[in-house]
Point group: C2
Chain length 351, copies 2
């Protein structure tokens, strides 16, 4: 059989750009690759696999002959177009939040639940949120060995989670305060230096700050991001009553979501056992040598495929519990790479 045809829908955005990079450097498993975006981007030429490809406008016709489509679109646009593509026989891998909690849509992280791609009654497979995706490759092997019972998470999320606008806002704000060596000591001085509009991207200025609000406000003071970490982790690991509390915080980092995790298991677990499991875990790099000053940080994880885990400690006062720190590139594994990996899981269906 010929190689299957892939469509990248939302090819011009921040994640679409990373997706073209990811596809270009992975095994060349696809036949035609169609790049699709909004009508205003149609006609642009973008590079993928070393070739220039002309962007086509999103339409029903653009899916003719497509086998698999990667969607990176706003929730409401995905909600409209993914069923249309699926009705045309396309397997849709959707990176939005529109379908993640739909019981008829599998939510897949290949390191955790690759088999879930096969059961897709709507022809749609969902890709998890970037914060969840930085956690799962570490959690999955620990859960398999020791049984995950509960988890508290505090995140340190990069500006690029807010797309190109978020990245630009951080660079703009850092330029505006650069060279001022008295700033940051008085309430409001950073706001004064940045002027109007500095709240636009993240709700509060991000330069010299941390912002305990990621996503929209939901019921009872929770944010959408915090609920995604909880609900998506439960679904991916098949633990519908897993106890999770997450606090999601934006930090002045360009790329790389970090998370401080406190996880409690059904069985006793030692640091040595966790080290051994995580050293061998797919998609995970163990960086945990305090004596040598080695631990994960976002500037060392940016642009890389793996998620990095370190600072693994046996909780002093909680039985069967570990504390650790994970970092993953929110655009690579957190979006484009995971989606590409899901697509590759489908290849046997076309051989």
């Amino acid at each position: 059989m010929p190689k299957p045809t892939l469509a990248i829908v939302g090819a011009t955005g921040a994640v679409g750009t990373i997706m073209r990079d990811v596809i270009s450097r992975r095994d060349d498993v696809w036949g035609e690759i169609r790049l699709v975006a909004s009508p205003r981007s149609a006609g642009r030429k973008l590079r993928i696999r070393g070739e220039e490809v002309t962007v086509q406008a999103l339409s029903e016709e653009v899916f003719d002959g497509v086998d698999v489509a990667q969607f990176d679109l706003p929730d409401e646009v995905s909600a409209h177009w993914a069923p249309i593509a699926a009705a045309n026989g396309v397997i849709v891998i959707d990176k939005s939040a529109a379908f993640r909690m739909d019981p008829d849509v599998p939510l897949v992280v290949p390191e955790a639940n690759p088999e879930a791609v096969r059961d897709r009654p709507k022809g749609i497979i969902a890709n998890a949120n970037c914060t969840t995706l930085a956690l799962i490759p570490t959690l999955a092997p620990l859960h398999a060995a020791f049984g995950l019972k509960s988890m508290t998470v505090a995140s340190y999320q990069a500006a690029s989670g807010g797309g190109k606008d978020g990245i630009d806002a951080l660079y703009d704000q850092l330029s505006a305060i650069a060279g001022n060596r008295d700033i940051g000591f008085r309430a409001g001085d950073v706001r004064d230096a940045l002027g109007e509009g500095a709240d636009a991207a993240f709700g509060s200025p991000l330069a010299l700050n941390v912002v305990p609000k990621v996503g929209g406000w939901k019921d009872d003071g929770w944010t959408s991001e915090e609920l995604k970490v909880r609900n998506e982790t439960r679904k991916i690991l098949g633990l519908p009553s897993l106890a999770v509390s997450a606090t999601c915080v934006r930090v002045p980092v360009v790329v790389g979501h970090s998370q401080a995790v406190h996880a409690t298991f059904d069985s006793p677990v030692t640091v040595a056992q966790a080290h051994k499991l995580l050293a061998d875990a797919p998609g995970v790099v163990l960086v945990d040598d305090p004596a040598a000053g080695r631990y994960p940080t976002p500037i060392d994880a940016a642009g890389l495929d793996d998620t990095f885990v370190g600072r693994i400690r046996s909780s002093l006062d909680f039985p069967n519990s570990l504390d650790f720190f994970v970092v993953g590139d929110n655009l690579v594994k957190g979006a484009a790479l995971n989606s590409a990996q899901i697509a590759e899981l489908l290849l046997p269906e076309f051989s």
Copy 2:
């Protein structure tokens, strides 16, 4: 009786500077105020209460006639000099870690355990770590009402926790990357831009990064800062077996330590109850109105006396538990103010 004599020992450092500010703007309760520092700073003139005061070199004689001394010195210098001052009849309030866990030295946060200042067999009273100090004013009233049982904490700690060198390192690094709008996407690109020496202040570069290491390495992968949060919270709240897991992380903020807290209590607790208690708690400002986009951030807390708490949520899956976010100025309440408040608790002894 005349007003008591105060000595500020370590008057020239980052905290000493804030201490002079704090004393100058509080009630004028002190008689003579002596400023003391290392011999190399002796003879400098520094302002306090609107007057210039000449700095004296640290010596045994400098404590003659002193009633209360505020020490802000490195641990080993405090360990040497605090007993000497105390032997000369001075009540020493020590901000170092040298005496905090000594059972014969009370560890005091006036909002939590003011009565503890009276029982000081060594004549020394210890001031808590800045991270602990940002937590206690919020924890104390919640503990009094509901009984604190366990807590997980993830911190977002400012560069100024590393003193003047830390502040300078952050400003230097931010200047070095300013205007570069491609940086932060590739592992190592921030390190390359900053060059040699960028690890010196914090173990890793801090610009565009977060560093999951605050303080020195202790046993089993824990840092000194993480153990301080646990051990000092236990001592201050009188809960020697309180379960605590902390992960302490440095972030590119100048002033203001933030913490994401998950706290479990003996009794049921509602958000409304916590709001009511914390709205009335001394030293605490409740900033918790998601609908109006109001939550605490470090740039809004810098330079202020109070600690700020918001994002209070009832944990969805943990009984009797709250998740919340606290921010406090690590130089003001986190060091100088708390020490000044302790000193003022001693005033009745001199009236």
